[in-house]
């Protein structure tokens, strides 16, 4: 059975190696870092990467801001709403992104300050991350004794905001970190909404550059792989620390 590692390993390694080779190809001048040097001096590349990074940050903040209080309250006070939460949080997996974009654009056509800027993307991105964020938060909170924590905090005179920010959040830090990193990889790679709504995010830029320069598209694909790798490494390390 062990020989099966060889074809599997080759299948997963070859595209990465080939992409690296492609990104270094310089036509008649052999191989070198030409594509990378060009990209570093391309403002559009930086703008798209910064836009995606900003959207990732905004999505993480907005998603946690609405989900942490809701999941906390559902677990503490209204557990009978759990089926509703479970149902809503799998909906983004049942409704494909392309269908959701059709539904959202049909209903929300204005005002311009809302749908006209790239910040609008935060709305669908929170939904795309919802299944994973909800799961992480719910598992994290179920492992805590919320009732005791809440009573202890309140008997010491903590208000609800203090309770959430200074008691709940520190206890959930691993779950929050995992959810944040996963959200980041989703947003950095997201293409469907951004391309239909015509915003120049990182993935849209890679697709755009791919139609003119295969070497630069390869270089950026490798960079995207590296970002995903770093984020998942962060999740794995966070999980290991929590297990200790």
């Amino acid at each position: 059975m062990k020989w099966l590692w060889a074809p599997l390993g080759a299948y997963f390694a070859l595209p990465l190696v080939a992409t690296a080779v492609m990104s270094l190809w310089q036509g008649r001048q052999g191989y070198g870092f030409h594509a990378y040097a060009e990209l570093i001096h391309t403002p559009e590349m930086w703008n798209s990467l910064l836009l995606s990074a900003r959207l990732a940050f905004e999505t993480i903040v907005a998603g946690l801001a609405i989900l942490v209080p809701a999941v906390f309250w559902m677990n503490l006070r209204v557990p009978r709403l759990r089926p509703v939460f479970d149902f809503v949080s799998v909906l983004p997996l049942v409704v494909p992104a392309i269908s959701l974009v059709a539904g959202i654009t049909a209903i929300y056509t204005g005002p311009d300050w809302f749908v006209g800027t790239a910040n609008f993307l935060v709305v669908p991105y929170v939904l795309l991350a919802l299944p994973y964020t909800y799961r992480a938060l719910d598992v994290g909170m179920r492992a805590l004794d919320l009732r005791t924590l809440t009573e202890a905090a309140q008997s010491l005179g903590a208000s609800w905001p203090t309770m959430i920010l200074r008691v709940l959040v520190p206890n959930l830090i691993t779950a929050l970190l995992g959810a944040a990193l996963l959200t980041m990889t989703i947003v950095i790679g997201e293409f469907t909404f951004a391309s239909i709504l015509l915003f120049n995010t990182f993935a849209v830029y890679i697709n755009h550059i791919g139609s003119t320069s295969a070497t630069r598209a390869a270089a950026l694909s490798l960079l995207a792989f590296l970002i995903t790798w770093l984020a998942m490494l962060g999740v794995a390390l966070g999980g290991r620390r929590a297990a200790r």
């Binding site: 059975m1 062990k2 099966l4 590692w5 599997l8 299948y11 997963f12 595209p15 190696v17 080939a18 992409t19 080779v21 492609m22 990104s23 609405i66 989900l67 209080p69 809701a70 906390f72 309250w73 559902m74 209204v78 709403l81 809503v88 909906l91 983004p92 997996l93 049942v94 409704v95 494909p96 992104a97 392309i98 959701l100 974009v101 059709a102 539904g103 959202i104 654009t105 049909a106 669908p124 939904l127 919802l130 989703i186 790679g189 997201e190 293409f191 469907t192 993935a203 849209v204 890679i206 139609s211 295969a214 598209a217 390869a218 694909s221 995207a224 792989f225 995903t228 999740v235 794995a236």
Partner: protein, 283 residues
């Protein structure tokens, strides 16, 4: 209940429930309304256009790609998971497999498409290498931009996803059962035929359905790979939304609803099977 309690419910739950209703439930519901509405009021005509030749081809392609890639992913992922669980594998190798699976399962979309174009595209590195030793895969009829190509590309995220979802089930296949079967004189084949596969079957089936849904709703990967030239349902919808084709928005909504119905059926089946899996994990 006291009014202050009600107010607290509203403050904590309100934003989330409002957000999900406004941007998830209402738009989804709206699609179904839009799909049966024309300028003359209620009509089933837009829905009927799904059975139009063009869209039917897209549905057939989408389903074919999804079924094939789900089967490839199930087989490849189950084998990979089995290998990764084998005793005697060093710990670092196991950590590498699990982290790499998390990365590859999330590495879909545009970068994945370009990675494979660099590898097996018409000017890809492997295509070139094979050509230099006399094998011209494109002359032989292969194309990365057709269904067989999509299946190869999708496997890059399907196999790791399968590995992630099936590993707990394989771990649950208790060692004692194998030992008990062996002590009763069962061969390896008999163990798998009468114990291993029947116990694993619900898990395998539910995972296959999950992979099917994963492939069926994929848009970025096939779009970047084929530049929108291979008819698939998500690409047809995108063409309607971008105004590239003269199709009414109602027909676009009908296609979007068609996708939701297929996905909902798949996920329902997945849920039912996943519940059966629990039977074998009493503890």
């Amino acid at each position: 209940m006291h009014w202050r309690e009600r107010a607290a419910d509203l403050v904590f739950l309100g934003p989330f429930l409002l957000f999900a209703t406004a941007f998830l439930v209402v738009p989804t519901f709206g699609l179904f309304v839009q799909a049966v509405t024309t300028a003359h009021g209620f009509s089933l005509a837009p829905l009927a256009t799904i059975w139009h030749d063009n869209h039917l081809v897209a549905f057939r392609n989408s389903i074919e790609v999804s079924v094939l890639s789900a089967l490839v992913g199930t087989l490849g992922g189950a084998i990979a998971a089995w290998l990764a669980l084998a005793p005697g594998l060093p710990r670092w190798a196991r950590a590498l497999v699990s982290t790499f699976s998390a990365v590859a399962a999330n590495f879909a979309g545009v970068p994945l498409a370009f990675a494979f174009i660099s590898t097996l595209g018409t000017l890809g590195v492997i295509t070139g290498l094979l050509k230099s030793i006399g094998i011209d895969i494109y002359a032989a009829g292969f194309s990365l931009f057709h269904i067989e190509g999509l299946v190869i590309v999708y496997a890059y995220f399907q196999i790791p996803l399968m590995l992630i979802v099936i590993t707990p089930a394989l771990e649950g296949l208790r060692r004692e059962w194998r030992e008990a079967a062996e002590s009763l004189g069962a061969s390896t084949w008999q163990f798998w035929r009468h114990i291993g596969l029947p116990v694993l079957l619900p898990s395998l089936l539910s995972a296959t359905i999950l992979l099917f849904g994963n492939a069926f709703s994929a848009f970025a990967t096939p779009y970047a790979l084929t530049a929108g030239n291979l008819p698939l349902v998500p690409i047809d919808i995108a063409n309607v939304l971008s105004g590239n084709v003269s199709v009414s928005p109602a027909q676009g909504a009908a296609l979007a609803c068609g996708m939701i119905v297929v996905m909902a059926a798949a996920m329902l089946l997945y849920g039912l099977l996943a519940r059966r899996v629990g039977k074998w994990r009493a503890r």
